[in-house]
Amino acid sequence: MSRTPRSRRTVATVVVLVLVSLTVITVDQTGRTHDLTAGVRSVANDVFSPLRQAVDDVVRPLGDFFAGAVHYGALQRENENLRATVGRLDQQLAQRSFDVQQLRQLTTLEHLPFVGSLPTVPAQVTALDMSNFDADVAIDKGRDDGVTVGMPVVGSGGLVGVVVEASHTQATVQLVTDGQSRVGVTFGGRQASYATVAGEGPGQPLAALFVAPGTPLHRGEVMATNGLAGASFPPGIPVGRVASFSTPSGADQMTVRVDPAADLAHLTYVDVVQWQPTP
């Protein structure tokens, strides 16, 4: 059966678009055009970020309203629990406003012991988990403020993630829970052991890989960045605490679950550490 010219044009258009997409994917994956794609993304984000911020300021109350409607049952239960809690704490606690809480977060960021003398750039989180498939946040500081790709990001508690994209005015941070995140860690005091902490997806605990069976471990043990030569992070930043561990029979490594040290569910302010890995 012969195709009409219109039908042939349609097939040709679809084939060309698919080929263009595959070409873009391929050259991006091979890293040959990384500078080009990063530049294009940077320009796009420079245009998009202020618009997103402006729209966010206007429609956030609307979003909160719908979110409240969607989670009505859970909110009602939470409300009852909160009322009970407020009743108990009312006589003990002075009024704690949101501003005080934010101030505390900022004050804590100023005195992070694990950052040491490294210079930092304080930043505000403007968007959380922008894709259903990644664990990432957007922050309101970019290259104009000295934030570049590869810099570690910390919060009160420990490592938050690493800058993976930076435009002039904003940056994207890949959280330690992202499935692509890998952090070299050390633990165990004097007899230091090494492992790699891997993200398992948004909201999931981390997994410590390459822990040999019989390695001394205890729940709550802190795993911190190891800072080995060529590492992506400076040494001594807490990454997480051991939540559970076991050795399946016949396995050549332990199964270790780790809770992130930083409170990733309530990120408001973070510090970008102006540190770059040595090549």
Partner: protein, 179 residues
């Protein structure tokens, strides 16, 4: 496509992307949020056919790839296939029936989300298959089924003459098919 249609189309793409990245991020159910951008190729395919659906899907996907840290080109590929696929499947259907847009919106976007996750995993983003894919697909499909009719109307307005000529072509094809 006329210059006016191109401007309107770009405005709709930017507007829906902004909506997705602001209000959409707050509408989380079981950790998943809606992805309204997938509705653009569906609406374009319903209004203008396979070719228009594929082009709009490519453009909408590229816009997503530019502002999110996703593999560059992946959303464009899935958007293009979604637009072409929906255009092909509904080619002989009566697009004025009330159920076509919601069903195409739900089924098309659910398929797109799954294809996106699988292709992402093939490209080395294994975490895309480790997320609660069922929740993501369910949230996206339900929200997009509800939003399909208004988005399809907006797409028909944005495409203007291209949508009208697509409608005329399909009406002619239906008349030819009828006994």
């Amino acid at each position: 496509m006329t210059p006016g249609a191109v401007v309107r189309l770009l405005a709709v793409v930017a507007g829906l992307l902004l909506l997705d990245q602001t209000v959409g991020l707050d509408l989380r159910v079981a950790g998943a949020h809606p992805e309204l951008m997938w509705l653009l190729p569906v609406g374009a395919a319903l209004a203008g056919g396979i070719r228009v659906g594929a082009v709009v899907g490519f453009l909408a996907g590229m816009a997503v790839d530019l502002v999110l840290p996703t593999p560059m080109g992946l959303s464009a590929l899935v958007g293009c296939l979604l637009g072409a696929g929906v255009g092909r499947v509904v080619a002989g259907a009566d697009h004025d029936a009330w159920w076509v847009a919601p069903v195409a919106g739900a089924a098309g976007t659910a398929a797109a989300v799954m294809l996106y996750a699988v292709l992402g995993a093939v490209l080395g983003q294994e975490q895309m298959l480790r997320v609660d894919l069922g929740a993501v697909v369910a949230v996206v499909a339900v929200v997009n089924a509800l939003a399909a009719r208004p988005v399809c109307r907006i797409m028909a307005w944005a495409l203007g003459p291209a949508a009208a000529s697509g409608r005329r072509r399909r009406a002619r094809a239906r008349r030819l098919v009828r006994p």
